[in-house]
Amino acid sequence: MFRGELSQGVIVTMNVRINGTIRALGEIDPQTPLLWVLRDELDLVGTKFGCGISQCGACTVLINNVAVKSCTYPIASVGEAEVTTIEGLAGSDGELNPVQEAWVDLDVAQCGYCQSGQVMAAEALLRANPNPSDDEIDQAMASNICRCGTYVRIREAVKTAASQLATDVGGGA
């Protein structure tokens, strides 16, 4: 059901799994980057456009828990994978997850434009490695540019989120 049905050469229809919901896409060019599908077709505008060439990370989303730059990721390649965007992080009750919460508590943002991408990159890091070293944080977050220069706070927020996650797990919650 997730395979696109080819119709008229380059236009297909398909379903994609985004933030736990299956979304139907009308006729679409399978080469359309996921970024523009999210923003223009699905009204999920938290994922941002910064460069369009996989340089800045503003468009970072998770595909099966791995950070991916959606500006260069064709919708056709998503297949049956689970896409998570910034809109899909909070709990079903609306509660912020530990990464989002750390970002708010530490007042990380300046203009804020890069930050949904930064949050997603941090989320991917912590899903793969819940207790990263300083070096591992730096390396993982190097994929994302913050023009306003909030790196010191991003670093701090990733650490805060990691220790919050550790407490949550340790507490048997």
Partner: protein, 750 residues
């Protein structure tokens, strides 16, 4: 079409520059600033040694007796809660949080009870609404305090009426009025109806708090949009959608001044999803509407593909042939020739003749791009002669004027919805993208969202101009600096005055500090638009003068810190708008002390210090770094001491300083824009590569909260960074780098 006219922007630049200059010091003489007459800005001069500003308070929006209590344009209280309005564009400088904090303080609201909303753009009501020149806090400080205090006074009066007690017997705290002797309390929400029925008192008559009673100001407050940001809610211009909207791109000539001769419009129109494709002539104004080809389509992706398929033939007779290598060649010649003097105090020639030692150095810095992370965009809808705009702009008032001109309607027919800006840095002071969206919406007759690509953003930026300085200085037998000459080669767009940020005024360091100072200034003609870039002028002059001061200290065989403090001299105010040398020395000493200046450092490690005064901020920075054999630089720590008066939002203030340090390192190491044949050579972030997290140093920020009126922090922490790092690299290696970016001399970030 005539060749491009670069004058149109003067009004914006002058307005902001004069607002900034007027604010940039204490004890300014009483005068009316020459501002646009449409704007009701009134400034009054020094009272008791401090600068006081007042504005006409925005008029009450709700009429008396209405259920919402809305005594002015900043406060609204009704059953749903306390809403405070933020009047200025948010570009990352934090004003959507800090300005309402000032209102909340005097209102005596609990910050947790407050909801902040962006105000409407209405300069007749609010005075100037813009983001520029680090002016929001100093310009609005007193007016916002009065707005909050007025609302508070009315709520107190309402409670006094209700309980039949005197106003003096009441106090306020955490959004409540309290009658202590009877133990009665009423919340602001409960009192709103009654307060709304009262006359609004004159704001000048209401008492303001003693700063020692502040409960909100000076605290760490997280940004009011932070939660929406991490939820991915639509906030920015790029997130805007309107009913029936289509997506637009606009292709201009890569060499500015080029006009469209022909384009494959029929082919483009035949592409999937394309609604229309057409040529716009432009309006001859370099800052508004350049000639180009517009495409409108069903989706961003389709319109971007159509843009890629464009085949345009350009007429380039009047187009730019700017060449950076040519400018370097010319500057290399000019540096040996005397130029027109713009500053000439004392007698530099005699000073040089009588000196025991002299030093000279040729400094150069490249052009730079703003690279704000959200590419330019604007949504526009023109219906029945009324234009509606959703724009991430720093100057909404100017945007309305320009858009009205381009569309041919009166400004009163334009409504602009201010959108959060994904970075500004000066780029969004200029509204070319708003003009383009407006013209395209007019042509197609349907609402459009214009989207620039990153490549557009780089190619059609309004750059920070490059420049060249042949420096020469002298010291006497006591190692004192005696003479200073700065032979400056800059750029001009209009053929007469230097580009914004490209002119040296007498107050530029060490003006007013040294006896014998000469600045010569020659401008090279340049067609690519140059304009304000975070801390215009200061962002490059600080590098040159802060480095050369160190060169002279070294020539004299003396400690740089000691020479810097000697140059600053006795505590005094330098001219009405200049720096205060006592505040300057204060931050220099504090930064040096906190950084551990004077420690023995191992080989390859160095510390450098720099001070710069800009945008009314006194800021000193010390860089501590190591340089490897292969010139890899690891910046360990930057210590900053800042005196911008009292701090409004401690978290926001620190964030601005930390960001300025990172931006400073990023820019001085690797960021350069170059031109050949009129065209920019860099296209995107792969060739204009900003610093990433692994290179970010520890940043230690200290504020001296002096009693002077508070001033802005969006810009002044940027300029001292570069000279501090250049000086530290010299301390570590003995090599004096004089080129920015420093990667052109082989130094790269580890």
């Amino acid at each position: 079409m005539a060749s491009l006219n670069y004058d149109g922007i003067a009004e914006i630049v002058d307005t902001i520059t004069s607002a900034r200059e007027e604010l940039s010091g204490v004890g300014a003489p009483l005068r009316i600033v020459k501002l646009d007459r449409r704007q009701f800005l009134k400034m009054t001069g020094a009272v008791g040694g401090g600068l006081m500003l007042s504005f006409t308070a925005p008029k009450a929006i709700a009429s008396k007796g209405a259920s919402a209590f809305q005594p002015n344009g900043y406060v609204k209280i009704d059953d749903s809660g306390i809403v405070l309005y933020a009047k200025n564009p948010e570009i990352g400088q934090g004003v959507k949080t800090s300005l309402p904090m000032i209102v909340a303080e005097e209102l005596d609201a609990a910050w947790e009870d407050v909801t902040v909303e962006q105000s409407r753009i209405d300069q007749a009501a609010y005075g100037m609404q813009f983001a520029g020149g680090s002016t929001a806090i100093p310009i609005n400080w007193t007016a916002l305090r009065r707005a909050g205090a007025t609302a508070r006074a009315m709520l107190v009066k309402a409670a006094a009426n209700r309980w039949n007690v005197s106003v003096d017997s009441l106090t306020t705290e955490n959004s409540e009025v309290i009658h202590a002797s009877s133990g009665r309390r009423a919340t602001y929400l409960e009192l709103a109806n009654e307060a709304a029925a009262l006359d609004v008192p004159n704001g000048d008559s209401v008492p303001l708090k003693d700063p020692s009673d502040f409960r909100i100001l000076g605290r760490r407050v997280t940004g009011v949009d932070n939660e929406a940001l991490v939820r991915g809610e639509p906030l920015f211009g790029i997130d805007q959608t309107v009913q029936g909207m289509k997506y637009a791109v606009y292709q201009k000539c890569d060499a500015i001044g080029g006009k469209v001769k022909s384009a494959n419009l029929e082919e483009i129109k035949a592409m999937s999803g394309v609604v229309d494709a057409f040529i716009l002539e432009g309006n001859d104004n370099a800052w508004e509407l350049l000639p180009g080809v517009a495409i409108v389509a069903d989706s961003t992706w389709k319109v971007l593909q159509a843009k890629r398929a464009l085949d345009i033939e350009w007429e380039e007779t009047d187009a730019s042939t700017d060449s950076w290598s040519d400018a370097i060649y010319k500057a290399e010649k000019l540096r040996h020739e005397t130029g027109p003097r713009v500053v000439d105090t004392g007698n530099v020639d005699t000073a040089f003749e009588n000196s025991v030692k002299q030093a000279s150095g040729f400094y150069r810095y490249a052009f730079a791009s703003h690279a704000q992370l959200e590419p330019q965009n604007c949504t526009a809808s023109l219906k029945d002669g009324k234009l509606e705009l959703w724009a991430p702009t720093q100057t909404p008032g100017a945007a309305i004027m320009s858009a009205a001109r381009v569309v041919g309607i009166p400004p009163s027919s334009v409504t602009l919805h201010q959108k959060r800006c994904g970075g500004g840095f000066g780029r969004r002071l200029y509204n070319d993208f708003v003009c383009e969206a407006s013209a395209i919406a007019k042509h197609v007759g349907i609402p459009v969202k214009l989207q620039w690509t990153r490549e557009d953003d780089m190619a059609y930026d309004l750059y920070r101009a490059g420049g060249f300085h042949q420096m020469h200085g002298s010291v006497d037998e006591n190692g004192k600096i005696t003479g200073w000459r700065n032979r400056f080669i800059t750029f001009t767009n209009d053929g007469s005055r230097p580009v914004s940020g490209g002119g040296i005024s007498p107050s530029v360091f060490p003006g007013g500090l040294l006896e014998n100072v000469r600045v010569e200034q020659t401008a090279l003609e340049w067609k690519n638009r140059c304009a304000a870039w975070r801390a215009p002028g200061s962002n490059v002059f600080a590098f040159v003068v802060g480095s050369f001061l160190h060169e002279l200290a070294h020539t004299a065989g003396r400690d740089h810190l000691e020479v810097l403090l000697e140059v600053l001299g006795e505590p005094r105010q330098l001219g009405p708008r200049g720096m205060h040398t006592g505040r300057a020395a204060g931050v220099v000493k504090l930064a040096a002390e906190k950084a551990g200046w004077g420690w023995e450092l191992e080989k390859g490690r160095g510390m450098g210090v720099a001070f710069y005064y800009s945008h009314a901020g006194h800021i000193a920075e010390v860089a501590d770094l190591s340089v490897s054999e292969d010139k890899k630089v690891r910046v360990h720590k930057v210590t900053v001491a800042a005196d911008v008066g009292p701090i409004v939002n401690l978290s926001g203030a620190e964030n601005q300083v930390q960001g300025s340090v990172v931006d400073g390192i990023s820019t001085m190491f690797d960021l350069a824009v170059s031109f050949e044949n009129g065209r920019i050579q860099q296209t995107n972030f792969d060739t204009y590569s900003m610093m990433r997290m692994p290179s970010a140093p520890e940043i230690d920020v200290h504020f001296i909260e002096s009693d002077y009126p508070p001033t802005g922090l969006g810009e002044p922490a940027f300029p001292p960074l570069a000279p501090a790092v250049y000086n530290a690299i010299f301390a570590a290696t003995g090599q004096r780098a004089r080129t920015m970016p420093i990667s052109e001399e082989g130094f790269t970030l580890a």
